[in-house]
Each structure stands twice: as C-alpha cells, then as structure tokens.
C-alpha cells in the first residue's frame, strides 16, 4: 500500500473536527428560525391503556398555543413501520408503553407548549400490563399488537436456524454445558437527544432537519403519513450527536409530528426531546433470554449447539425481528460445529419498545455464547483462551450456519495478540493462586466474536454516490449513507481523493440531503465504509477515467502512459499538467465532469422457512481480554485492564478506527456492569443519567487495542467493517474475568452487584 496517499494513513483527520471543536457545528437543537414554533409532546403515563378521551380544546384555548395534533391528523392514523407496520406516529386507540406519544402542541414558546400539553384532557382506561416475555405467551395474556398485524397473540415472529442435527451429537458428547442467561435492556444514551425542525415550503411540501440515521427512510415515512409525494418532503441531516442505532423509528415519529404542525401553521416548528423524554420514549436494545446447550468431545473439539432465545420487542416490532435474526445467525459464536439449531421468538410486551442498537442482536448473542464457552472450557479443565484457539474459525472452515469462509480470517491472530499483550498465562496463574479471603479479588477473562458484514439477509445492500467537478475546481461529493459521528464523511472524502489523485481539501462532501443525494437505503449495520465506500470508489473511478482521457490528450500519450506527481498528470513527452489544466481541457472536449456510481454487496440468501442459506457474504472477527478487580465487601467490580484485537480487514482511517474500537468497548463495559434499563410491570425504573449510569473516564482502564489486518477482496482497498462488532466481545470478557475472581458464573447482564463478604 506504499503508493496510497490517504488510505491507511495515520495523518488523516476528521473532516468535521474543526467545526465541532470550536463549537460552531450546528446540531438541530442549535437551529432557530424567525417565527419558529416550539413543540411539546403529551406522553402516556401508563404502559398499557385504552384512550377514552383526548380533548385538545383546552390546550388550543391557551394564548400562545398555535396548533395541536393527534393521530387523526395523519393518513391511516399515522400507521408506519418496517418490517412490521405496527406503529403509529401518535397513539391510535391504545397506548402500549409508558412514554408513548399521544398528542403534540405547537406554541410561541417552549413554556407555553408545555402548558398546552398539560391542559389537554386525557382519559385512559388502564389495561393489564404484560411485563414478562413468558407471561406474554400465556393463552389468556392481553394482546398487545394492533389487530391489523398478523401475529400469534403476542408472538411476533419465530426465526430458526437449522444446520445438521445437534441432538445425537449432544447425546454422544462426554461434556455438555447447559445454561441460561438473562440479558437486560440497554439505553443508547447518545449525548444529543432526539430532535427535528420542520420548515413549510411554498409548494405545499416540507423541509426537515432531523437527527435521524437514515434520511431517505424518514422522507418516505413522513411523506406517506402526510399524504405527500416523497419529492415534496426534503430531509437534511445537520451535525448529529451520536446515534448507535437509536435514531430511526423515534425520529420518524417526531419528524412526522413537526412536519404536520409546520404544514398546519405555515411556520417552522422545532421539537427537541428533554433527556427524561429521550430515555422514556426512545427504543432500547432488546432484552434477550437465552438457553444454550454446547457439547464437546473428549479432545475438546466443539460438536454441536442448541440455542433457544426469547427477544423482548416491547410494544412495537421496530428492528427487533431483524436484530433477532442476526442474534440467531451468531448464537453459537465464531466456532466450528458439526450441527447447530437455533430457535428465536420475538415477543410483544409493554416494556417500552426495542430496536436497533450497536451490535444488533449479536451483542446479546455473543455475550451468552462466550460465557457458555468459558464454562465448557472449565468443565474440560482447559485454559479458556487455548480452548478458543482450538475451536475458532479459520479460513476454509464452516461457520455455525454451515457456510464456508473463503476469505482471510484473523481470529486466531486476534486471540494470539490479546494473549501476548495481556500476559495471559502469567496473570491467569497469578490470580488462580490468590487467597480466598483477599480483600480485593482479581481475575482475567477472554471472549471472541464474529460479525457478519453488511445487512446480510436483512435487506438489499447497496449505496449510491455522486461526484461533480465545480467551476472553481473543487469537487462536490454526495452519498446516500450518512455520518452521525462515526466518521464516514471522512472515509468517503478520503476514498474520493485517493481514487482521483487529488488533495482531500479539494473534496467538499455535502451534508446528507434527500434532494441532492441518491437513496442508498439505511445507514446501519456498520456498512457505510464497505458499501458507501465502494460506491464512492466506483464513482471516482468513472470521473477519473474521463480526466485521464483529457490528460492523455493534453500530454499526447496513451492514458496508460500517464503517471501522477501529486495532483499533476505527467506524460512521457510533454511538461506535466496541473489538475486545473486537465479539468479545463476535459470541459473543452465536452466530457461530462459529473458522475454517479452504485455498488451492491454480493447477494446472499436466507430461507426463513427452512432456516438455511447464507446469512452474510463475509465476516469480521475479534478477541478481547478483560482484567477485573472485585471488592467482596461492596460487590463492586472495576475493570483494570482491557486488550482488544479486531480483524476489520484493511483499516482505511486508523485514527477513526481506534476511536470506534475504544468507544465500542466503553459501551460494552457499560453493558456489562452498569447500564440495565430496567422495567417493573412495564414502568421504566431509570429515566435520567444519574440513576442510569454510563461509563465515565474514571470507569475505564487504559485500553490497549490493535487491528489485525486481513484482506477482503470485495471491500474498498480490502476493508471490512468495525463500528458495531468491536463492542460485542467486551461484556463476556468481563463476565469471564469475574468468574476467575469470584468463582461465580454470571447469568445476567448487567452483572448484578452482589457483596460476597
């Protein structure tokens, strides 16, 4: 890669950094317009109830209240949702979770809007609350989803995986571990709460600034519930303060609400959630209950796995069916098996609602199986890291779904790296011999993971990009995939500059805007660098080819004879020509100096009926070691060391990649030790950042991380993905370390704090 100017270079910096470090970056909450109205939401105080009375008149009578809306203001009551159309932008007939939006008031000031919300006359008839997944499946449990959705009571969906027959293999295995885990909800806690600003347009349409992840989906949903053609809804992303999967459905709701109010009033309308609202009303990482059976032969070779999972979707499906599908495809982990069966049920309850969150089902699945693998290694009297090395996937092996892994696999190298850097053998032996009554107990543990690249069987996986050379010789870049802090704008800018052989500063990447960019599906699944990156590459290659033609004409040589010196084009005969000269000449020749390119991930197919197929075209891998200190008197666990190695293919933007690695691990530490978003009979117990603690700088040790470079031929310059999977190994590594410290197996995340003195 010696001839690459940007890809893989340490010196590349975030293209958005300057605006953010000066405080000049405008997030939606920083945007105000003349005549702008402020919106506030009436939310359900009950987790499950029928709406008896909803009277807006008292609110509308207040001076300063300009408009108020309910579901009746939307086409088909504002019904939306994908893959399951079970949600409403404002509650229709029933409320199904505490905090569900019922009505929205727009007023001259925020205080008046709040008073308006308080004035609305709302009468609810409480319905029995379903707060437990098992209870939700009882024959006499009250049905939660609307009658228009086809379900078997509260059972939304069943997802299966069938690879071989594990039963006889488990029966014949001398060592079988049978265990279960209770993995609780997690809150995204992005620092910027949800928000949208809608501006009415003279053509009867509306422009939205919203902090959603996927502006095209937002545009389509808002247009459909407003009864407008999609072209009349324009969705623009300002700077966005973190999402981690959490700014989809909840943003579609709030975007549709402000859009309707803007159309009704003819004035801009802005809605920004308070923190309490955000924590109450936004969707979560779904809770999962996992039952696992793993068997190995007397030599410690894994034989078979049988897994049953219940996924708590809460009141609406959102992305839980998809996340449950991904959990199913990863439930037995990154190992070789002869047979694996997985059965996953997606269940409606009144526990808020759940959807996408970093790791998308694999965070839970990997946590469960990695704790179980540890237990199996222990039963076999094997070192847990050595046991993983013996069984982990290598190039040419078959995954737990029975698919051949043909690309390079860096998993064993990741395990070797964390073993060496953590001084695994030495620390493991040291902690094994610590006195039982030590005032602080120490332990070290390991976990590894794999994670399918892209959407896989979850949807069509493509992206589109455009490039245009402007009159001032700057180059305008668009992508249908977006940036909410993870750095994809920097990656796209870098790839365009690399492919065109120009300075990065020449490339102006526009903010995501449905009017200027081309629909590329959702920005999810850590797919932006691979899919969006390849689309940029394809587009830049098209444009670059035209410039080379012009340069060859100027240099009086064949295009193949040209070389580049910086931005200059150099031919064998004449003087070098500057980029500007080549652009002028291309224009004079009548060449089109704008290009559009599309890239799609190699097709995969999954048969939902038979539970067979190919879930993903490629995988990333990784391993993490955690070291903990346990205080038996207080029950407090502190993470004292973390080592992480991730095989993300060729790393495009090293500084950004490290940031993703550290940040993912921090969320994993939170998932392991502090972040349970708990419900009691459907009532959230922690709706502020004081009681719901997320890791602070003092809660984390210094992390030692690395990237094990492999090459994925389909990825841009050999890259794979990394943003989500890097958090997947952290929680189980901590749980396994805690086992060495305490001798007690973790069965629940977050790990309950239990004094053992």
């Amino acid at each position: 890669m010696g001839n690459l100017r940007y890809v893989g270079h340490e010196e590349v910096r975030s293209v958005d950094g300057w605006a953010r470090v000066t405080g000049e970056a405008k997030y939606v909450c920083d945007m105000t317009l003349p005549g702008m109205l402020y919106a506030k939401v009436l939310r359900s105080p009950l987790p499950h109830a029928r709406i008896l009375t909803l009277d807006l008149a008292p609110a509308l009578a207040l001076p300063g209240v300009v408009a108020a809306i309910t579901q009746a203001d939307f086409v088909e009551h504002g019904n939306f949702g994908w893959p399951v159309r079970d949600n409403y932008v404002l509650a229709y007939q029933k409320v199904r979770y505490q905090g569900e939006a019922i009505a929205v008031v727009a007023a001259e000031t925020e205080a008046v809007a709040k008073a308006g919300v308080e004035a609305i006359r709302l009468e609810l008839a409480a319905l029995p609350v379903v707060g437990d997944m098992q209870a939700a499946l009882d024959a006499d449990a009250p049905r939660i989803p609307p009658a228009t959705v086809e379900t078997d009571g509260n059972l939304g969906e069943t997802i299966i995986l069938r690879y071989g027959d594990p039963e006889p293999l488990l029966a014949a295995s001398p060592v079988v571990v049978e265990t279960s885990y209770d993995l609780r909800h997690q809150e995204h806690a992005y620092l910027e709460t949800e928000g949208a600003l809608a501006i009415p347009e003279p053509d009867g349409g509306v422009t939205l600034f919203a902090n959603n992840q996927s502006p095209f989906i937002n545009r389509d949903i808002v247009a459909s519930v407003l009864g407008l053609p999609p072209q009349q809804v324009r969705s623009i992303q300002p700077h966005i303060g973190g999402t981690f999967g959490g700014k989809d459905d909840v943003l579609y709701e709030c975007s549709a609400q402000v859009a309707k109010l803007a159309l009704l009033t003819g004035r801009p309308v802005r809605l920004i959630f308070t923190r309490a609202e955000s924590m109450l009303a936004s969707y979560k990482r779904q809770a999962l209950r996992v039952q696992l059976q793993l068997g190995a032969d007397e030599h410690g070779n894994l034989q078979a796995a049988q897994v049953e999972m219940l996924a708590d979707s809460g009141a609406y499906a959102s992305m839980t069916p998809m996340a449950a599908w991904r959990a199913t495809m990863h439930a037995a982990g990154a190992y070789r098996y002869q047979a694996v069966h997985v059965d996953t049920q997606v269940i409606y309850t009144n526990n808020g609602y759940s959807g996408a969150f970093r790791g998308f089902g694999n965070t839970q699945a990997a946590a469960a199986v990695e704790m179980a693998i540890d237990e199996l290694a222990e039963r076999l009297h094997r070192d847990p890291l050595e046991f993983r090395l013996q069984n982990c996937l290598r190039q040419g092996d078959r995954t737990m779904t029975g698919n051949l892994v043909e690309h390079e696999v860096g998993l064993a190298a990741c395990l070797e790296w964390v073993r060496e850097r953590s001084e695994w053998e030495r620390q493991r032996a040291r902690y094994a011999s610590q006195p039982a009554d030590a005032p602080r107990r120490h332990g070290i543990g390991v976990a590894c993971y794999f994670h399918g690249c892209g959407l896989g069987g979850e949807g069509t996986d493509f992206a589109v990009s455009t490039l245009k050379i402007e009159r001032d010789y700057s180059i305008t870049l668009t992508s249908g995939l977006t940036d909410f802090g993870q750095g994809s704008r920097t990656v796209f800018t870098m790839l365009a500059a690399e492919e065109l052989g120009v300075e990065m500063s020449r490339i102006q990447m526009l903010r995501p805007d449905t009017r200027t960019a081309i629909d590329s599906g959702p920005t999810v699944a850590s797919r932006a660098s691979i899919v969006g990156g390849n689309a940029v590459r394809v587009t830049a290659a098209k444009l670059g080819q035209r410039l080379r033609l012009a340069a060859a004409d100027l240099c009086a040589c064949a295009p193949a004879q040209l070389v580049r010196a910086g931005e200059q084009y150099v031919g064998p005969h004449a003087e070098p020509h500057s980029f500007e000269e080549v652009v002028d000449h291309a224009r004079a020749l009548g060449l089109q100096l704008a290009a559009e390119g599309r890239w799609e991930i190699p097709a995969v197919e999954w048969n939902l009926e038979t539970g067979t197929g190919k879930p993903n075209f490629a995988y990333v891998f990784g391993a993490q070691v955690a070291e903990v200190e346990f205080n038996p008197r207080t029950g407090w666990t502190k993470v004292t060391g973390l080592w992480a190695a991730h095989d993300g293919g060729v790393i495009l933007y090293p500084q950004g990649a490290r940031g993703q690695l550290y940040g993912g691990i921090a969320q994993g530490v939170g998932y392991a030790l502090m972040e349970g978003y708990l419900f009691k009979d459907g009532v959230p117990q922690r709706t502020d950042l004081r009681s719901y603690r997320v890791p602070r700088a003092i809660d984390l040790p210094e992390i030692e991380g690395t990237f094990i470079e492999t090459r994925l031929n389909e990825g841009p310059y050999g890259a794979k993905n990394l943003a989500e999977p890097v958090m997947v190994g952290t929680a189980p590594a901590i749980a396994n370390a805690l086992f060495q410290a305490t001798g007690v197996r973790v069965q629940q995340l977050p790990i309950p704090r239990q004094p053992r003195a």
């Binding site: 950094g17 953010r20 470090v21 000066t22 966005i240 802090g485 940031g659 950042l689 602070r696």
Partner: protein, 163 residues
C-alpha cells in the same frame, strides 16, 4: 434584573433578564452562543460546561445571580484573537478526540479548567478532571491523549518563554 458580567473577555450589560433563567439558557437562547449544549438539564453530563472565573461550572445549573460581576468563558471564547484554535483544541483534532462532537465543547472546557488548576496532570488525574463530562462515542482514551499532549505542549511553551 440587570446583569453585568464579562463574557469571553468583553464586558456585557443585559437588562430585563429573568432571574429564573439559567446561564445555559441565557447563552443559548438570548445570546445565540450555542457551543455549550443541553445534554441532560440536571448537571450530570457536562455538555453545558463553561468557565466562571476560570473554574469549571455546569451552566445548566448556574443561576444568573452567581454570574453577576464575574467572568464567563465559553467554547467560543477559547480561540485566539485571530480565530486560531487553542493548543487544547488543536490537540483534540490531532489525537482524534472528536467523534460526534456534542460533548466536545464541554469536554474542551473541562480540560481547560483542569490544566489551569493542574498544568501537569497524570493520565489518572486527567480522567478525574473530566469525570463530570460524559462522552458516549470515544471511550475517552483519545481525549485523555489529547489533554496529555496539550499539557506537555503548554509546559514546553512556558519553558521557552521563561528561558
């Protein structure tokens, strides 16, 4: 009430100020300085951090009475007279300490307060110094790197100036 204070080095007199207003509301809603962010409104996230007389304050919990007659510095006031980034801001960019950026203004302010108090902090002291500020993106490591590097650079510069 009437409010007199120094904002980012410039004396300012404001009339008809509602006493109930917090410093954060005043900065964002009346003065249009949106660098300080509203992350929680309960003083636990640090996104609204500013300096009052050089000391770290959560502006969402700072009543205006505490500001009257004092000096307030926000992220907008950290840059040099010609708009240059401060050494700390440059270090945040150089070390990749900025991802989504929503915590960044508050984090830079917290770091500035720390370095004024303790010009040569250890990494553990840096972690304690920013413990009132939540960052959900970075895992803090590159933020600690940036603050450590900025501290070293400030000391080197002061050494040069002294010598």
């Amino acid at each position: 009430m009437e409010l007199n204070f120094i904002l980012n080095g410039k004396p300012l007199t404001l009339t008809e100020v509602d006493e109930e207003t917090t410093l954060l509301q005043l900065l964002r809603d009346r003065l249009g300085l949106t660098g300080a962010k509203r992350g929680c409104d309960t003083g636990v996230c640090g996104a609204c951090s500013v300096l009052v007389d050089g000391r770290l304050a959560k502006s969402c919990r700072t009543p205006l009475a505490q500001v009257d007659g004092h000096e307030v510095t926000t992220i907008e006031g950290l840059r040099g007279p010609d708009g240059d980034l401060s050494a700390l801001q440059t270090a945040f960019l150089e070390y990749g300490a900025v991802q989504c950026g929503f915590c960044t203004p508050g984090m830079v302010i917290a770091a500035e307060a720390l370095l004024r108090r303790n010009p040569h902090p250890t990494r553990a002291e840096i972690r304690r110094g920013i413990a009132g500020n939540i960052c959900r993106c970075t895992g803090y490591q590159q933020i600690v790197d940036a603050i450590e590097a900025a501290a070293a650079q400030r000391l080197a510069q002061e050494g040069e100036e002294d010598g």
